[in-house]
């Protein structure tokens, strides 16, 4: 059952990701990407990473992609935008070759040595466990994230405000 679900979600997410880069219309690409995000969320949920799964849907599929769609619609982007890059087949070939050069060894592991990990403790990845980690072991990066958000917020305001006193 688990294998079946994995193959289903995994296959679907790869297909949708391909759709996102192949489709000619920006809106279709964005919708495909949303589908990919949902499939990834499913994969995370299967790994018992409930919080990540929920955040994947809320933040990526929800907030960020909705923003993408807004931008595409507001700017009224049509097909011609990507046309220039499509006229350069050499770059496409290069991209495919380098993606393959990364992908093949990663999947086959190229005969290298690997580490065996012990199984994660039960409850790992649940909201409670992640919250606990954030407030204990990872308190410092968590606090730095607040500085990051403040800086980003202030920066966005100062760059976009129409008139500054």
């Amino acid at each position: 059952m688990e294998i079946l679900m994995f193959n289903l979600l995994g296959g679907l997410s790869v297909a949708l990701a391909l759709g996102a880069i192949i489709s000619k219309r920006p809106v279709n690409s964005a919708i495909n990407l949303i589908g990919t995000m949902f499939c990834l969320a499913g994969l995370f949920a299967m790994q018992d990473a409930h919080l990540i799964a929920a955040l994947q849907v809320l933040v990526y599929a929800g907030a960020i992609m909705a923003l993408f769609l807004f931008v595409i619609m507001l700017l009224n982007v049509r097909e011609k935008v990507g046309a220039e890059s499509r006229r350069q087949p050499y770059w496409q070939l290069l991209a495919v070759v380098s993606a393959g050069a990364l992908f093949v060894p990663l999947v086959t592991l190229g005969g290298g040595k690997i580490l065996k990990f012990k199984e994660a403790a039960s409850g790992f990845g649940t909201t409670a466990a992640v919250g606990r980690l954030l407030y204990t072991d990872y308190i410092l990066p968590f606090e730095i994230a607040s500085v990051l958000l403040l800086a980003a917020l202030v920066g966005a305001v100062i760059l976009t405000k129409t008139k500054i006193r």
Partner: protein, 483 residues
């Protein structure tokens, strides 16, 4: 429910970071209440914050603590870099005071962004964990994207900000993907644990791909060729004090994280990796110097020269020895002084709106403003590495570390590059002293007090570090990383 175990936290170890964050927030609040005249003094608050943070960082020299459950380390290496960051931030605040008034950007946000970026830089120098390093990189980068676009009415500034943002986000993607792969292969994000696991992972493609991607990410951040495409436009378009800041502090921070990651997490790959860094170093310095030769604009020339200097510093990385890492640290200290000094004088010469920055605009400067010309001459001598300036001491120590480890060719190429660089640096001096004015009307050169102070401080530092470098080199020597 198991009880919550909080790891030991040494708050005094993050004193500098806390002071900087607090000062930034104070600046944001003052901005709300201050009137137009009061805002002219905001820069001095930022300067005070960086000086205080620098003093706290200096007090931690000799201390070696690992805190926050091993995520954060304060050692001489991080302390030395933090002092560089505070010098860079403080001097930038000082040279910004007049500039910000002229360009109408003297807001609390401007100085707060400089301090936020500095917090990110401190985190990068001290982090011993991939997640923490990445948070530091992002805090620094986000603040810099904003700073680059601060002069909102200038088109080049907008372009610089957008370009920097898009390419910076792209490079962060590389860095993060590399970190994810390394985590996937080793099962840990802590640098030393990765270093231990790496020994068991010979030939594991996931680990190698992760390390290579992280190298690409860091190479973007230090503007090493061939990942430098963003540098000239961003450095030229950004407000001059911001360019001075970006080319010193953040670059030093990227090198600090780069060095620490490779010294602590990837020592097992030392034998293979020096080839990559060696080629990066040679490409970066050669390309930076050759393109700088044909520039017409002094600000753009300084941008390319900054690429070339990143190449010299990469020599310290390629050598991968304690001497190499402390040589790079000392050079970055020297570079902070001389580059910010050069930019301070560029601001003086460029006048309002940065209109006059070509070589021609500097002609006859020796007569129009002898002291400015003299100070700028000392700065470019130092950038070129001519004794008795600090630039010479820095280069000497850095290239010696290459010779010690048998990297003769690398040292030879670096010296040849330094000789090439003399040409375009001295071109500026030739224009200042040996060309008559071409009769075009240029704004009167007037040196505002904070700029004069910054120029005097940097000139003194460059001469002092050049004549009496021993004490500071000893400090840098204690700030090595165990390769």
């Amino acid at each position: 429910m198991t009880p919550i175990k909080i790891p030991s936290i040494a708050l005094d170890a993050i004193g500098p970071e806390m002071v900087l964050t607090a000062t930034a927030m104070v600046l944001l609040m003052i901005e709300v209440f201050a009137d137009k005249k009061g805002r002219d003094h905001l820069g001095y608050i930022a300067l005070g914050g960086s000086v205080l943070a620098g003093a706290l960082a200096y007090k931690l020299s000799g201390v070696s603590v690992t805190t926050f459950g091993g995520l954060y380390v304060v050692d001489n290496f991080s302390t030395f870099f933090k002092i560089i960051f505070m010098i860079s931030a403080g001097l930038t605040a000082l040279i910004s005071v007049k500039y910000a008034q002229d360009e109408g950007i003297n807001h609390g946000e401007y100085y707060a962004m400089i301090l936020f970026a500095t917090v990110g830089m401190c985190v990068m120098a001290s982090a011993r964990d991939l997640i923490t390093i990445f948070m530091g990189v992002e805090v620094m980068s986000i603040a810099l994207y904003v700073l680059a676009g601060m002069t909102r009415t200038r088109e080049v500034s907008n372009e610089a900000s957008l370009k920097y943002f898009i390419l910076g986000a792209f490079s962060s993607g590389f860095l993060l993907y590399g970190m994810a792969l390394v985590y996937g292969a080793t099962g840990t994000t802590q640098l030393q644990a990765i270093g231990k696991a790496a020994g068991l992972l010979t030939g594991n493609p996931m680990f190698i791909a992760g390390a290579v991607m992280m190298t690409i990410g860091f190479a973007f951040k230090v503007a090493a060729v061939p990942f430098h495409m963003w540098t000239p436009d961003v450095y030229q378009g950004s407000p001059a004090p911001v360019t001075a800041f970006m080319s010193t502090g953040p670059k030093a921070a990227a090198f600090a994280a780069f060095l620490r990651v490779f010294a602590e997490a990837f020592p097992a790959m030392k034998e293979d990796w020096w080839v990559i860094i060696w080629s990066l170093a040679v490409l970066t310095m050669t390309m930076g110097n050759v393109v700088a030769l044909v520039q017409n604009d002094v600000k753009r020339m300084l941008a390319y020269s900054s690429i070339a200097h990143a190449g010299y510093i990469l020599v310290g990385l390629a050598v991968a020895s304690p001497a190499g890492s402390s040589g790079a640290a000392f050079y970055l200290l020297v570079y902070a002084f001389m580059n910010i000094g050069a930019f301070a004088l560029l601001i003086v010469a460029a006048g309002k709106g940065e209109r006059t920055t070509t070589y021609q605009d500097f002609s006859g400067m020796g007569r129009r403003s002898p002291l400015t010309a003299l100070a700028l001459t000392i700065m470019v001598f130092s950038l070129a590495g001519i004794p008795p300036t600090a630039g010479f001491a820095g280069k000497f120590y850095l290239f010696m570390s290459a010779l010690e480890k048998g990297f003769v060719w690398l040292a030879v190429i670096a010296v040849i590059n330094s000789v090439v660089s003399v040409f375009y640096y001295l071109k500026l001096v030739v224009y200042m002293y040996m060309r008559d004015e071409d009769g075009e009307a240029r704004p009167e050169i007037s040196v505002a007090a904070p700029l004069a102070v910054a120029a005097v401080v940097t000139v003194c530092a460059v001469m002092w570090l050049g004549v009496m470098p021993a004490k500071y080199i000893d400090f840098a020597k204690s700030a090595f990383l165990p390769f």
